[in-house]
Symmetry: C2
């Protein structure tokens, strides 16, 4: 595969920087103006290449490079373009842009291939905005409905459906999209690892065996707000103090299950009407439990529940639990993984089979058709952070391995 890496890189810098803030982080939240801007940039390039473009009813953006044999089921490659708040330049967008380079190479070099290659940028992969991840692929794969999504709100009270409705969402086109995906051969997603394993082993490529699933819940603590100077310690029902103990317990439970590669995190906290001189009367936190072993995740969940029961009684504080999502770990397709493996061997890249701690759109597509994932190392395993970084070598490897796998399947 002979292409101009620097040209790709300069293009990559433009797309990956859409939504850059003053700190240098990327604020390309799902369905935001910046998210739309990034898609528009992609569309402009795709039109220039005369690719077929399609925006489905879930706001997923599709590009298609037709093969010579229209009877063969297409291969889908892809990832997502949205970021977490103050995020980095590789999570999601690398998979889309590596795939885009593969299509561009096929077009520019008039490479013949029998099977159609489709590239998808799924919408709203990150859970940052609506506390629910992979909304675009869930909708397209029929794993949720706009009706169910109405319960998920961002901090301004908008639901994802508000944004779908803006573009005149029509329910039957989602059905059509699901039928289309089911007719495809498989799905391959390239993504940064977002963890430290590949880097610490000095491995070029990760082949994902299974994707960890999240159990997510919102905990709403209700105590009593009081004057911070005049209310003695023994009469308090401090909602923030109760939440703090819970945060510590979530971490403890996560550490206890670390040997099974489970993790547990409190990522958000909110004290309404907060003030320095008021004992907090209410507090809300969100808990994210993930693992590839369901029983380990369940132990964290159950441990947390019995802790909360005790805490409610001891402190006379009400704790409302809202289950936001409860998913099972998803095994990926072994045969597709083995095609990635044999192309690593062919191109001289080292590889390892590994689980994915993070969720990805692939876990939804895997419910309909064979799905596989290619991981590339990121520096320090750092992700969801403005200092996300991928070496030039690994960027080159990304494009190379994806191209080899696509040609192996579609030639």
């Amino acid at each position: 595969m002979d292409y101009d890496f620097n040209k790709w890189m300069s293009d990559y810098r433009v797309i990956s920087a859409v939504g850059e803030n003053d700190e240098g982080g990327i604020d390309r939240l799902a369905y935001s103006d910046y998210d739309f801007a990034a898609r528009t940039e992609m569309l402009n390039r795709a039109y220039g290449m005369r690719l077929q473009c399609y925006l489905d009813a879930a706001e997923n953006l599709w590009f298609s490079k037709p093969g010579t044999d229209p009877d063969l089921p297409p291969l889908i490659i892809g990832s997502h373009l949205d970021t977490v708040p103050n995020g980095g330049r590789y999570d999601g967008v690398l998979g889309v842009m590596a795939g885009f380079q593969v299509l561009r190479y096929l077009v520019d070099n008039k490479v013949e291939h029998r099977r159609t290659v489709e590239l998808v940028a799924f919408s709203c992969e990150e859970s940052s905005r609506f506390s629910l991840s992979t909304i675009g692929s869930k909708l397209a794969c029929g794993l949720t409905t706009p009706e169910k999504l109405r319960n998920y709100k961002d901090f301004q009270g908008h639901s994802p459906v508000d944004f779908l409705s803006r573009l005149r969402y029509a329910p039957d086109t989602l059905e059509e999209r699901k039928r289309h995906i089911k007719e495809c051969l498989g799905y391959i997603e390239l993504h940064i690892e977002q963890g430290p394993v590949l880097e610490s082993y000095g491995t070029d490529i990760g082949i994902v065996e299974s994707i960890a699933a999240p159990i997510r819940l919102r905990l709403e603590f209700t105590g009593r707000s009081d004057h911070s100077g005049a209310c003695p310690m023994e009469l308090r029902h401090d909602a923030l103090a109760a939440a703090a103990l819970t945060i510590t317990e979530v971490e403890r439970l996560g550490r206890e299950e670390a040997k099974y590669r489970s993790v547990a995190t409190v990522g958000t906290i909110n004290v309404p009407h907060q003030a320095l001189n008021v004992v907090p009367g209410a507090c809300t936190i969100q808990v994210d439990i993930r693992g590839i072993h369901r029983d380990s995740m369940d132990r964290i969940y159950e441990g947390l529940e019995s802790f909360l029961k005790k805490l409610e009684k001891e402190r006379e504080i009400r704790i409302n639990r809202v289950l936001l999502s409860d998913e099972d770990p998803v095994p990926l397709d072994r045969s597709l993984g083995e095609i990635i493996e044999r192309n690593c061997v062919k191109t001289g890249l080292s590889y390892r089979w590994m689980p994915s701690g993070a969720g990805h759109d692939a876990m939804n597509v895997a419910k309909l058709i064979p799905a596989a994932m290619i991981f590339v190392p990121c520096r320090g395993g750092i992700s969801h952070n403005l200092s996300e970084s991928v070496s030039e070598k690994d960027l080159r490897n990304s494009i190379q391995i994806l191209y080899e796998v696509v040609m192996d399947i579609c030639r």
Copy 2:
């Protein structure tokens, strides 16, 4: 004292409800439009009564009812009109409105008194907005300067000085106000207790011996933000988890010193760029330590400091400490207190001498002239809360005792 309580009460309901929100709480933050609206309501009534009105350079609002002997130093009574966010209907405003009723009674009944009575509504008593309390009385008493206040910002980045400047603040009038206060006989502030002591003893009136002082600090935790699914527990530097341990420690230290009537509170917490799927990389909390025994406050402060040192090392997290205020407990004037005492006896009200856990404008005025405070019970000791409540009996007692004390001193 023979007046129409119901008429006063209907007036009270109007003023105390300015800034009511959808939940029924009061959002009359210092220098907000609602704060100005409440003052305008007061001014309208005072003009009708032909009281002398004066807005000083610290935005404190003064009313004066001249006595027959202009050579006698005036007595000042007063409190404040601003509230905490989602606050109640008695903190501050009761003292102003009880004082206003005393003046109204003197005017309406043409009561003769030799000494001038002044009523003040100090500005920005609550620390909710700028993390600094009693700003209006501090300025008027020469205990701070506009220059120093520039460092205090609200969540929108405004400093108190921005609001003083709006009304063409001129530095020399603050000096004039301080000279005036120093020429007065004394200051008496009536306020709800904001604690449970009077109610639990069934006592009508509290006479404040001394006012607890706050040590306040902001703690800024810097860890590293990571992907909540892909970063294993052992590699994390979770800023929120570190803050949670600190919140628990602040509570523990406060409980340990509860026997000296000290308290310690974390009232605010902020995780920038927070998201459910991100390990928090930064977190800021604010700590409020109060007591009437300086050594007990110091033990909490020092205990916290040594905890933070250990935490920084154990978790490889940076913790920046910003001292927001550090004040000493303030004893009030014994002789003025005894005048309150003898008028309780005279009117058949039960009373007890007690400390004030909360800070008040009286602690600043006490630096210049004798100052005293009258506490009235509030239901459940609840304050800084929309369910703040005072019984009709205690409202009547408030006006009665304040009137008796004013007449005792000024007749």
